[in-house]
Every structure is written in C-alpha cells, then in structure tokens.
C-alpha cells in the first residue's frame, strides 16, 4: 500500500466507537503499518455526535484526516453520516448502518433524504442492516471481507480477540462470522 489509508467513523455516544478504533489500530500495527488515531472524550460522549479518526500507512504524521481525504467512512447511525461528508470525496466509500437514532425535539431525516444527499457526493454508498448485532464490529468485519479496507479478516479477527473483553468476546466472534457469511451474498 503506497498511499495512506484514512478512515472516519461517526455515530452517537455509547456506540463503542473508541473500542472499534482500538481494534483497527491493533490490526494496522500487526500489518506493520504506522498508525495514528484521534478521538474525543468527555461530555461529547453523553449521547451526542461522536467522530473518530484513524489513519495508517508507511509513515503517518497527523492523527486527524484532512478535509475530503477519507477513503472509508463508517457510520453507525444514518444521520451522522452527513456530518462526515466534510471528509468525503467522490471516491470515498460510505458504509452505513441502516438505523436512525431520533434526536429529541427534532424531526429525524429520512433514509431517502440522507441517501439523496450522499449520492451527490460519492457513488460508493453501502447501507447495511447492522443493528441486531454488535454494530461496529460487524461493519468493520464486513469492510474487511469485502476488501473495503486494506487489513485482512484474519488480522481483524485477531485484533477483536485482543481488544474485546472476555465476557463480550463470544458475541463478537459470532458477529464476525455473520459478516463473513453476508460478505459473500
């Protein structure tokens, strides 16, 4: 891989974005890539919008992705994918969980509205049902099986085992297998 690979992950507080970041970072390190991540803590995690970044490649300086430089945007919530468009270009892949978390006292955007907007930016929009499982791990595993991320499923699996606490490991292993099955269809 000559070029750096840039991922922006968006979702809402409590969806496990920071754990997901750690899994990708471990897999990238195991692939002998240089890797950097950026995350935000504090009040931003109380159910508000969350946006984290991870970059890997031969030599990585900035921990944050520059404007319009994302290769992959993973959205654990549909409306949040719009916030990540700042980092998208016409070649960016969007991998989106088909799930809308309503905002109190506001009318939610419809799936149609969101997709119409995104399609004006990139043709590579993939919407998948990922809410019945551990969403982040499912989307990441799917991305790996589908070749949307230059990290092999084997490495992702090992990173999941390293990062996820024992009591949640079994369900995440199942999620990984499910992604493997779905990637072929």
């Amino acid at each position: 891989m000559k070029k750096d690979f840039n991922i922006v992950i968006v979702g809402t507080g409590g969806q496990g974005l920071i754990t997901l970041l750690q899994i990708i970072a471990e897999a990238a390190l195991a692939s002998n890539f240089d890797v950097k991540t950026s995350e935000l803590h504090g009040l931003s995690q109380r159910g508000g919008s969350v946006e984290v970044h991870i970059r890997f490649g031969q030599k990585i300086y900035s921990p944050i992705v520059a404007q319009s430089k994302a290769d992959l945007i993973i959205a654990l919530e549909m409306q949040e994918s719009l916030k990540a468009t700042y980092f998208a270009n016409n070649k960016t892949t969007f991998l989106i969980n088909k799930h809308i978390v309503p905002i109190p006292l506001q009318k939610s955007l419809s799936e149609g509205q969101i997709l119409t907007t995104l399609k004006k930016i990139s043709k590579k929009i993939k919407v998948v049902e990922a809410s019945g499982v551990t969403t982040g791990v499912y989307l990441l595993s799917l991305a790996s099986f589908k070749g949307l991320i230059p990290l092999s499923p084997n490495l992702i699996f090992r990173a999941i085992k390293k990062v996820i606490p024992q009591q949640y490991l079994e369900v995440n292993k199942k999620t990984f297998e499910l992604a493997k099955k779905h990637a072929k269809t």
Binding site: T12, G13, L21, Q22, A25, E26, L29, D34, V35, K36, T37, S38, E39, L40, H41, G42, L43, S44, Q45, R46, G47, G48, S49, I60, Y61, S62, P63, I64, V65, A66, Q67, S68, K69, Q79, E80, L82, K83, T85, Y86, A88, I103, P104, L105, Q106, L109, Q113, T117, I121
Partner: protein, 532 residues
C-alpha cells in the same frame, strides 16, 4: 495492566495520556496527584487503576491547587512527583505554582497541563497555557504525539533533577487523545517513602530571600536554554523558505509538506520555554520567508519577530495572517497556509452543503438530574428566577429540553456569582452545583453567603461521583458529609432530599426560595454509573 509491561522495545498502542503515565513510570515516579478534567483525565484514571500494583502513591485531590500543594510536599520530601490537570486547573493551582518555581524542587517534579483548543470539552475559555511561561518562568515542553509524550515526560524529569526546578509538559486535546504504537523503555521502581530534611533556605519564600530565589530561577532558565538549543531539531532541505513549529502543529506541517510535495526546512522546537534563541536566529538568518505554525495566540510569532530584528530585518514573517487564532488547527488549514507561502497551487475544497443535524449531548437515561431540573421547573416560574450553572454534566441544563442556565463560568463559581447577583438585585435565584465541584471550590463561596448575608437557593446535586470526567471518586464517598459542611458554614435552611421524592423536593424548593437567608437542598441520588 498492559501499561505495566516490562518488555523494553515492545510497541504498545497508547493514548497520549497513557503514554504520559508510562513515561512517568519509566522515570521512576513515586507520587502522583491530580484533579480530573478533560482532556487530562485519563492520566489520573490510569494511575488510579495501576498505582497499587506499580507501587506508586496516587490520589485524586480535592482540587488542582490542593493537588499541586500535595505534589510540592512530596517533592520537598524527596519523591519523584507528577501532578496533572487540565488548563483551567492550572489557573486554580497557579497560586501554588509560582512559589514552587521559585523554591525549586527537591524530588524531581513534572506538571502536566492539557489545553483544549476548539473547547471540545471546555466551557469557560479557549485557554493557552503557554502564557504560564512568562508568568511563572517554568520550563515548558510540547510533545506532538504519544511517543513524545512518554519521552518528554522522562526528559522533563531529567531536567527537573538536574536543575531542581519543576517542569511543565503541555499537551493539547489532539495530543492527549491521540493513539499510536509507543516503544517502551524499562520501568524503574523506587522506594515508597522519602524524608523531609529541614531547609528554610530553600522552602521558605519570605522576602528578602524571595528576590534571591528569583535571581536563581532566572539563572536556571538560562542554563536550561542551552538544552532547549540542543533539543530543537531542523529537518528538510535548506531553502529560502522555512517553518517554525512545535507540538501538534508540527504533525500538520509534515502532513502538509507531504500533500504539497514540498521539502522545506522545518525547525521543530520541543521547548516552548525557554526558547532556543540562537537556534532560531541561525535558522532564520538566511531565509527569505518564514511561516510560524502555532495554535491559538501568536506567542511564538512575536518572539520570532523580535529575534528577526537582530539577524534578518528583511525576513517576511507569516503566521496569524494565514492561520486562525481561534480554534484548533487542521491539516487543511496548514496545507493552505503553506501553499500560499511557497507559491504553490492548492485548490481549497468547498464545504459540501448537507442538511444540518444538531445532536446535543443528553443527560443519560435514569440520570437523577432529570428529576432535579424537572422538579425545579414545576416549583417556580422559570421567567422570574435566575438560574446559576456550574461545571459538570449538569451544564446540560443550558441545552434543550431544560434551558435553565442563565450563567456559566468556572468551577464553583455558581455560588459566588449568585451572591453578587443577590446583593445587586432583588431577584430570586437558584444555583445548581455538583458534589465534586462543591468540594473543589464551592465551599468558600457558601461561607461568603452566610458571612455577607445573601439568600440564594443552592441545590447541591450529589450523585456521589465526579461523573462528567469518567466517574472518579470524590471526598463525599469517603465519609466527608456535605450536610455537615453546609451546617458548619452556618446555613440554617438545609434539607437532604432524594429527588425521586418529587413532591417533597418541589415543596422544599417553593419554601426555600422565599427564605431571607441562604438555603441549601442536597439532592442526593447516585449517578446511574455508580456501582452499588
């Protein structure tokens, strides 16, 4: 506990704050004190988990000034000491910081301060702690990534050991919350206890000795400047355009150079104070243009401008004319600035027009504050009452659906300001303050309402933890009873109520707001995350 791994050479993915902990452990730290605050909190959280196993004394102190003073005591007793806090914490601690730099250290001492450009987790101001360089004459190191966080903390301990001076390591959000593989060094274990050896010459700051101390301090700074010269690095090819930078900005400069395929010479400072004057002068001497890349105020730019007058008065100096003074930097801002200085074509990307959604943070489901805010709204006419806010999760009182926060300042200030408003007007007033914030700095202000006779209604929201920064313990969980403090301050109208009992809570608010003296309700109900 992987952070305690003793395999030198191993690479571990660490958060900047965890790397600071690791650096301190490798340096053989013996005493650690802190008060939590984003983006510094994980330093304390990590030590809280590992201190016992690592054989290090660790405490969450009542506030940052107390944390600093505890650290001073440990240093005076000969222990290697680390004190950590966020930017506003250093303001609180500054009363103790300045004399500490004068007396100097006995046990080497490193202070970590985390700034938060763009105020991701900071309500009160976009503070730049670099200003403490000129206020306190404290050496300041600026790491740019987790590896440097670890290495600079070790270096800071060495400087402190050699020159008997506390050293400040300043990070920013994108450094403290940045992760990367960090190469570990060996851990150092030290004895748990030291000895306080009496030495009034060093530890007592009374005049006229204090002026001698200042002379000694300025002397130390000049010696450390030599180290600052050695530790700053120049990279890239010699050209007529140069860049001076440090901290996180350095990473954006390197990223921008990569993007624009430029190979300009870059001076990376590492020390913000004392600055390597000679190195800067020799760097800029033969340049035509120099770009200063720094976040927030142009402190560095001003220094370079004054040095340029000595060696190169024709030098074109770029900085805040191309780089904003407000908000954190981003790679694209630095790419654009660099392109302008180097006359490179760079097409700025337009921000795409998309529907805007505003997802505010919310009180957690089951949070007792819902009941406090809801109860207050039922008890009073919101339009007739001024609502004071303070620092904690309950700042969300200012957001929908609550909207009962008419002022918000700094830790503990809700009560002090309430007193002023009560003295200046005849309006009704209710303040909200959390348990940890009350312990931190609410108590003197409460005494003032009794001493100088004003009558706000103070609601102390006791959820038995420091929730916002990650549920750190506070004095309330170790037997310090808030009601005993309030009573001892001379408050006559006091009730402890679980806000679940809404009828009683509402009735008490209605009753207390009419009192001619200060009144306090302790709304006690644990945070949903407190383990029972």
């Amino acid at each position: 506990m992987e952070i305690l791994s003793n395999k030198p050479g191993q690479k571990l993915i660490l958060l900047g704050n965890e790397a600071i902990v690791r650096g301190a452990l490798e340096a053989g730290v013996q005493f650690v004190s802190t008060y939590p605050g984003t983006p510094a909190s994980e330093i304390g959280n990590t030590f809280f988990k590992i201190a016992k196993k690592a054989g290090v004394y660790f405490e969450f102190s009542t506030n940052e000034k107390v944390a600093m003073e505890a650290g001073v005591g440990a240093s005076f007793s000969g222990l290697k000491t680390l004190i950590a806090m966020k930017n506003f914490g250093l303001n609180v601690a500054s009363d103790a910081l300045l004399p500490f730099v004068y007396t100097g250290t006995k046990g080497p001492t490193v202070i970590v301060v985390a700034d938060d450009p763009s105020c991701h987790s900071s309500a009160q101001s976009e503070e730049n702690s670099r200003a403490f360089a000129s206020l306190a004459h404290i050496p300041i190191l600026e790491p740019s990534d987790p590896q440097e966080c670890k290495d600079f903390v070790k270096l800071a301990f060495l400087i402190s050991q050699k020159y008997n001076i506390p050293v400040l390591v300043r990070t920013t959000t994108r450094v403290s919350h940045q992760k990367m593989p960090v190469q570990l060094g060996p851990l150092t274990k030290q004895a748990r206890f030291g000895k306080f050896v009496k030495n009034v010459h060093q530890f007592v700051t009374m005049p006229p000795r204090v002026l001698e101390m200042k002379r000694e301090l300025l002397g130390k700074i000049e010696q450390i400047r030599g180290l600052s010269e050695k530790r700053s690095t120049v990279r890239g090819s010699a050209s007529t355009i140069g860049i001076i930078t440090s901290g996180i900005s350095y990473l954006y400069v390197m990223e921008a150079s990569k993007e624009l395929k430029l190979d300009l010479s870059v001076l990376k400072l590492n020390f913000f104070y004392p600055l390597p004057d000679k190195k800067i002068k020799s760097f800029i001497k033969n340049l035509k243009k120099v770009l200063i890349v720094e976040e927030l105020e142009p402190y560095l730019e001003k220094e370079v401008k004054s040095l340029a007058k000595e060696v190169n008065c024709k030098l074109q100096i770029f900085g805040k004319d191309l780089i904003p003074e407000i908000g954190e930097l981003k790679p694209e801002i630095v790419i654009s600035a660099l392109a302008k200085v180097a006359n490179r074509k760079y097409k700025e990307v337009k921000v795409k027009q998309v529907p805007i959604i505003k997802r505010w943070p919310q009180l957690c489901p089951g949070c007792p504050y819902w009941l406090v805010f809801g109860g207050v709204k039922k008890a009073v006419n919101e339009k007739e009452v001024v609502f004071g806010g303070d620092i904690g999760c309950y700042m969300l009182a200012g957001l929908p659906p609550h909207l009962i926060q008419d002022y918000l300042f700094c830790m503990g200030s809700s009560i002090g300001i309430a007193h002023g408003i009560k003295k200046a007007t005849k309006q009704k007033l209710i303040t909200f303050i959390g348990d940890s914030t009350f312990f931190h700095s609410g108590i003197p202000a409460l005494v003032n309402t009794v001493f100088n006779k004003s009558n706000p209604l103070i609601i102390i929201m006791d959820n038995q933890t420091t929730a916002m920064t990650g549920h750190q313990p506070n004095p309330g969980v170790c037997g310090v009873k808030i009601e005993n403090i309030v009573r001892a301050c001379g408050v006559k109208h006091l009730k402890v109520i679980d806000p679940v009992k809404q009828a009683e809570f509402i009735k008490t608010v209605k009753e207390f707001i009419k009192k001619p003296e200060v009144s306090v309700i302790i709304a006690r109900h644990p945070c949903v995350f407190v383990k029972k």
